[in-house]
């Protein structure tokens, strides 16, 4: 039985995908967990849509400040070199292509890179979109971070999305608990798989055709204490 990545491990893997000096926006939900796993050996600048560049996680010893919160409305800290700005400037950064990478969660991703992540039509109550649609098109690269399969086992990566879209042909790379997959002009290309997982099994758990990269690697993440 192969061991899928934990949520912390998934976040760890994404956090280690960024080079020194990358400007990154993290969507609410699972992607915000990436912040806690940012590697200490490089400076990555996290943007928060509510007007922050250079946010970092609060430590145990820090007093939370109601005026310093992330996009999920939870308290954060500011790195040296960080800055504050208003919402029009913040979304200028997003929509104008200044953010290098945005990481969003997903309900569905199509093989062409369409993303559905904001609305489940069956859910009760009012819809909410936040900055997801701005981020989907605005960032230079759009990463998706999601479980490979929904709770009922159905694939999240599909030929065509059935749920309301957040953006069309916008996803560049998908990080799941099983694999790292690029959306390419020739379809979905598996870059990394967890150890012990057969490609056929990964394909079975995916709703669209996959190809395995010639230089595919092991998706290997250290054991982590829960953050």
């Amino acid at each position: 039985m192969v061991q899928a990545l934990t949520r912390d491990q998934m976040c760890w893997r994404v956090a280690h995908d960024f080079d020194e000096g990358t400007y990154v926006n993290l969507g609410v939900g699972l992607p915000l967990g990436v912040l806690a796993h940012s590697p200490a050996d490089r400076e990555i600048i996290y943007h928060s849509e509510n007007g922050i560049l250079g946010m970092e996680p609060l430590e145990e010893s820090d007093e939370p400040d109601a005026n310093l919160i992330n996009a999920g409305k939870r308290p954060v800290k500011l790195m040296k070199g960080g800055s504050y700005f208003h919402h029009a400037d913040s979304f200028l950064m997003i929509r104008g292509g200044h953010i290098d990478v945005c990481v969003l969660g997903a309900y569905e991703i199509s093989e062409k890179g369409d993303l559905a992540n904001w609305r489940l039509p069956k859910s009760k109550g009012a819809p909410a979109v936040g900055g997801a649609m701005d981020l989907a098109y605005g960032a230079k690269k759009l990463y998706v971070l999601t479980d490979h399969n929904a709770k009922d086992g159905s694939p999240k990566i599909v030929k065509e999305c059935t749920l309301p879209l957040t953006g069309v042909t916008c996803v560049d790379r998908i990080f799941t608990d099983l694999a790292v997959i690029d959306v390419t002009d020739e379809g979905l290309l598996v870059r990394e798989m967890i150890d012990g997982l057969e490609f056929d099994e990964l394909q079975n758990r995916t709703g669209a055709p996959l190809r395995l990269a010639n230089d595919w690697q092991s998706l290997s993440v250290p054991q982590l204490a829960e953050a």
Binding site: N50, N67, L68, H87, A88, A128, V129, G130
Partner: protein, 220 residues
């Protein structure tokens, strides 16, 4: 020139039924709760509120909603923890909701402030929220047309304000506040501190006085 108001009632004078109210804040950070509470007490009718979130709890936007003052909400993320007033009205069909992507709200309001009636953006293309909107291609890429959102009144929360109306903010509580201040005919700011004129360094003013009509100090 002295824009400092003696009390909140004076700061809110003349807000008509049916007004479009732009509200600063993101979650509770920067939400002008005292202004909103006082406005709710005046029980205006048929307001349109433009606000990222639809309030939480029974203060601020929540109170304005539960007092029945609001006909329509323009939001990107109305539902948050504790947005019970909003949910109740929405589910009862007593509140119209225009759901707008967060960056599109910010840009539409800034456009109103900038004399720009409309602009094109990638955001929402190919989605439900882009349906029915004009689409135009630039360099082969499709964009959606968005119109300005003009406010009659902006209610904002700032940290410091002076008698001319210059404002500064605290950390991420800045958020929508300077943008809303640009987009309305009348801007009312609640501030935590009144600064002497000249005490705010001219290099550090975030909202220049021209965007602000009334300033009122609120004890916290």
């Amino acid at each position: 020139m002295d824009k400092i108001q003696a009390n909140i009632e004076m700061a809110l004078e003349g807000i008509a039924d049916g007004s479009v109210i732009l509200i600063g804040g993101f979650g509770n950070a920067g939400e002008p709760i005292a202004l909103l509470n006082a406005l709710a007490d005046k029980k205006p009718k048929d307001l349109t509120v433009v606000t990222n979130n639809a309030g939480s709890g029974e203060e601020g936007i929540g109170r304005l909603l539960s007092e029945g003052c609001v006909r329509k909400a323009v939001c990107s993320f109305p539902r948050v923890e504790g947005s019970v007033a909003f949910e109740k009205l929405y589910e009862a069909g007593k509140l119209e909701l225009e759901l707008v992507p967060q960056g599109t709200i910010a840009e539409r309001v800034r456009s109103a402030g900038a004399g720009i009636p409309g602009f094109y953006t990638r955001t929402s293309f190919g989605t439900e929220l882009g349906e029915g909107k004009e689409v135009r291609e630039f360099d082969g890429v499709p964009y959606v047309f968005e119109e300005a959102i003009y406010g009659d009144v902006a209610l904002v929360k700032a940290h410091r304000g002076d008698r001319w109306g210059n404002l500064t903010y605290l950390k991420s509580a800045r958020n929508f506040n300077p943008v809303m201040a640009m987009g309305a005919t009348v801007t009312v700011a609640q501030v935590s501190e009144v600064a002497e004129l000249g005490d705010i360094d001219p290099e550090h003013v975030i909202t220049p006085s021209i965007f602000v009509d009334r300033v009122v100090k609120v004890e916290e």
